[in-house]
């Protein structure tokens, strides 16, 4: 199985190093770059990593829109958000912008490598509760559609 390349971009120094130490010893996963700011994060896209672990705080709209930028600069990269005790709305917004999953800081030890492997394989990493919210959001958008093409 080929190695999964990962970038970790996190403004939280402790969480960044926690991710690093969890991934360092993991076979089949290689961290190719890290970043501490949005600018650094966007620069790391030159590595075209398969997986981008991104601090949710870096996706704030009053700053640069990190998710669309990363997706534009590195279209094959899949983004997983690192969330603190983040509000569901912001995670939802991140997913609507194209992130493929999210992980609470408390879940890193248990699920980080699992989530990376799942998302790299084309799956997503979201909780059931979040799936419900995604469906609601989808239904809202659909309802606003005029959609003449759909029966």
């Amino acid at each position: 199985m080929p190695t999964i390349t990962v970038v970790v971009a996190d403004s939280d120094k402790r969480r960044l190093s926690a991710c690093m130490s969890l991934l360092r010893s993991t076979r089949g996963i290689k961290v190719v770059a890290t970043g501490r700011s949005v600018r650094e994060a966007v620069e790391t896209t030159r590595h075209q990593p398969q997986i981008f672990l991104l601090d949710l705080k870096m996706t704030r709209t009053n700053d640069a829109p990190a998710i669309p930028l990363i997706r534009t600069k590195s279209p094959k990269t899949q983004i997983i958000l690192l969330t603190g005790n983040a509000s569901g709305a912001r995670v939802l917004n991140g997913i609507a912008q194209g992130a493929r999953g999210y992980l609470d800081a408390k879940m890193l030890r248990r699920f980080l490598t699992k989530a990376i492997r799942a998302v790299a394989a084309g799956e997503s990493w979201v909780s059931r509760a979040m799936v419900g919210k995604l469906i609601d959001q989808l239904a809202r958008l659909m309802a606003q559609e005029t959609s003449p093409g759909r029966a």
Partner: protein
Amino acid sequence: MVSDHGAAQVLKVLVASAVSARRIEWSQALQKVAILHEALDRPMVEQKLATLKPVILLLDLSLPDLHGQKSFAEIQKVSPSTRIILLTKTPTETEGTSMLEAGAKGYCSTEMDPVLLVKAVKMVQKGEVWVGRKVISHLLDTLVSLTEQHRNRSLPQEDPSLDGLTPREKEIVQQIGGGSSNKEIAYHLHVSEKTVKAHLTSIFRKLGVSDRLHLALYVNGHRPSMR
């Protein structure tokens, strides 16, 4: 009127399939956790939904006279409080997404392991949704593309009044219309904020607006009607 309190409620499940083997399998799987009722065709489904108001309906999509989202909505209407789990022999991501969007609370394979079926029923009873991973991924894709479409809709792509602008300036106008800041635009276009400001000055002059707020209003007021 029975109270809605989940704890005190008897879990009434209506199992609907024209295939008797499936009804038997699902009923056996659920007999310890639910009071079961069965239906063999669509009229019976609707009649039992109306009288029993089950908490959950397990509905086999191979039941005759079921036609996609529309039939689903009609059945849901008979008992709006009933949470519907759809089962199909050939689950697809697109059908799953469209059924969830229509209000289904579950979408899975008729071949599903009975242990999982029990889990699915319990999850849906709790108010959660039960779908396969592939459907979730497709759901995300759909959500992302719809969100993008939505955003683009408010952009003035074919507005003739923007004809005097250079392609770069048009890009910037679109982003202003979408609510981006100079900093965001600079990031997006890989130029400095200063360059963005210079472009903006030129845009203001060409369109005869005084500032970015007026530009945003101008742009959104000239939204092209979609189709």
